[in-house]
């Protein structure tokens, strides 16, 4: 059923029906009411595809992100979805699984779909060809999580946040603080977080140690060596919450108590972290807010017929969430952590069910 059917039944022209839906003020009260009544009765809804073709605006935003399997991005997407709906937009999400080729493919797919704008979380803005073409094509877009001087970004200051964590750990008496990170080359976030770690450690006169674990597979293998070594760290600063959770497990499996023997901090603030035992001490990013902010930046530009500029970038604040996974450093004896007799940890029992 089309606008035509409504117009016939209401005894007006299609143009008038269109006006009723788009510019109600431009129609006389009487005809508007009649048209509205007829439309409601027939259950008419304007066909958005036709409208899109005519107006060249789809009211759809494309969203490019690495994966939904990391709750951080799921939370962000939820924020995007909410704000988009509120602003009259729908979203088409596409995941890239951290692969650059899929990033490019995602962008062209979305452009062919006629999205009005894009929100994307790319591996590295510097290296993204898709992004560059996007910018050149003049298509409105906003980066989320990424930070770059020449792109509009909604992000947090990961470097400062990690530096803050380092200071907190030092204050708790930690000296041997190892950073656990995914591949640094994989994203600008990883790089920035590591920089925050490296600088804060240097500033404190401490020696930085980086444990770079592979993306997939048993991240715990490398951890085992680190945690069972003679001069093992007293604190693990993990580049994200997922890594922190894995690290805590690895520590337990090595017979270490968290935070008794080893403090562990995360980064991201995924909601689940608070439900764990020990609750994750972590840097809270406002994930939903990042999504919301991205949508708003984009929607604002779209409304004014422009394109978001790098100058509009927003840096949202992070907060350190004090959980239970991090505590004062254990006392040291000749460089080796000594554990109180009472807290000798048992490895978690294997289920027999």
């Amino acid at each position: 059923m089309s606008i035509h059917d409504v117009s016939r039944k209401a005894g007006v022209s299609p143009a008038t029906v269109s006006r009723v839906f788009n510019f109600p003020d431009k129609v006389s009260g009487r005809t508007r009411e009649r048209v509205e009544a007829v439309a409601r009765e027939m259950g008419y809804q304007p066909h958005s595809v036709a409208r899109t073709l005519r107006t060249q605006r789809s009211q759809v935003l494309g969203v490019v992100l690495p994966t939904l399997l990391n709750p951080v991005f799921a939370e962000c997407l939820q924020g995007i979805a909410l704000a988009a709906t509120a602003g009259g937009y729908s979203i088409i999400p596409v995941t890239t699984d951290y692969r650059l080729d899929l990033e490019a493919r995602a962008v062209s797919l979305l452009l062919a779909r006629g999205v009005d704008g894009l929100i994307l979380v790319v591996a590295d803005p510097q290296a993204s060809l898709a992004l560059q073409r996007l910018a050149e094509a003049g298509v409105p877009y906003v980066l989320a999580y990424n930070r770059h001087a020449r792109h509009p970004c909604v992000s947090v200051d990961g470097q400062a946040a990690v530096a803050d964590v380092v200071r907190r750990l030092i204050e708790l008496g930690h000296r041997r603080i190892t950073m656990v990170s995914g591949p640094l080359a994989a994203s600008d976030r990883a790089l920035q977080r590591h920089r925050g770690y490296a600088r804060a450690m240097a500033k404190a006169g401490l020696e930085p140690t980086l444990l770079e674990v592979p993306f997939l597979g048993s991240a715990t293998d490398g951890l085992r060596d680190t945690l069972t070594g003679r001069a093992r760290p007293t604190a693990l600063l993990c580049a994200n919450d997922l890594l922190a959770i894995r690290s805590i497990r690895a520590a337990r499996l090595c017979g270490l108590d968290v935070p008794g023997d080893l403090s562990v901090t995360g980064f991201d603030g995924m909601a689940l972290g608070e439900e764990l035992t020990p609750a994750l001490s972590t840097v809270m990013q406002p994930n939903a807010e990042i999504g919301r902010g991205s949508v708003e930046l984009l929607a604002q530009a779209l409304a004014s017929g422009s394109t978001p500029g790098a100058a509009a970038s927003i840096v949202l604040p992070t907060t350190f969430r004090t959980g239970e996974s991090c505590a004062a450093a254990p006392r040291l004896v000749r460089g080796v952590a000594r554990r109180a007799r009472a807290t000798v940890p048992r490895p978690p029992p294997r289920s027999r069910s």
Copy 2:
């Protein structure tokens, strides 16, 4: 840049260009190559909105689900996204936050967007008006997770799976097994899982106990009473993984060791469950598979110009994942669990960072 520009530059008609993209076989090799070359050179991509208007097929699937904050649905959506992309479809996800009014709104939004079909996770197929109207309107759709005799569903047998868990717990020596569930009225899944529990308990001659915790807020309040009572359960059978994680935390806060003093099982098989300590013992649902299956069922029907029928419903198998959160029941002394001296649990220390 439109098909027209390409046709001019290639010296052919727009129709021919269209054929090159849609029915390459219907075009002579020479002209096809020329057109392809020109198109590539100009960076032309068919405008899918126009194509949609003309063909009345959008190649877009709408996805209605409760929330992305529960990793179960995020995992499922990822599965949907993957399969959709593979099948040449894009998806528009809408979340309902378990609210029926938003369910209806989501459906009409999606229909107005001109989606070719819908995949939805509704609270209860029986009670969903949106669903009923969908069926009546003849719009192709598939339900995921839901089970209903008169709708096409991709689901698991939650009732049988929970009954199986009950049997496992009984075999481990548990007699006081409490089910922890969200509001039963909230979804058909909750109801079915509870039925599996109730029946299996009855069959074993054990008394069922249900702890229904509210959706939001401190689910742990009710748990505390249960766990500190005189005849506290030795096992908690949780209706989903999120609840299991919360229950484990509540138990720890009550000074109970999991699984030493209390076994806890989940349901869903969210990936993170394996990373926890103790690793979650849970019923694994193939979440991504459920998503994939839904897409395939839908795509198949769309390809044949039909609508998926209830007869096409698929029930995917679940498997019990043996984790560490569940073990043999502690020995009982006069109906009260006795704990070995050595395993007296300490409440987790509060972080001072």
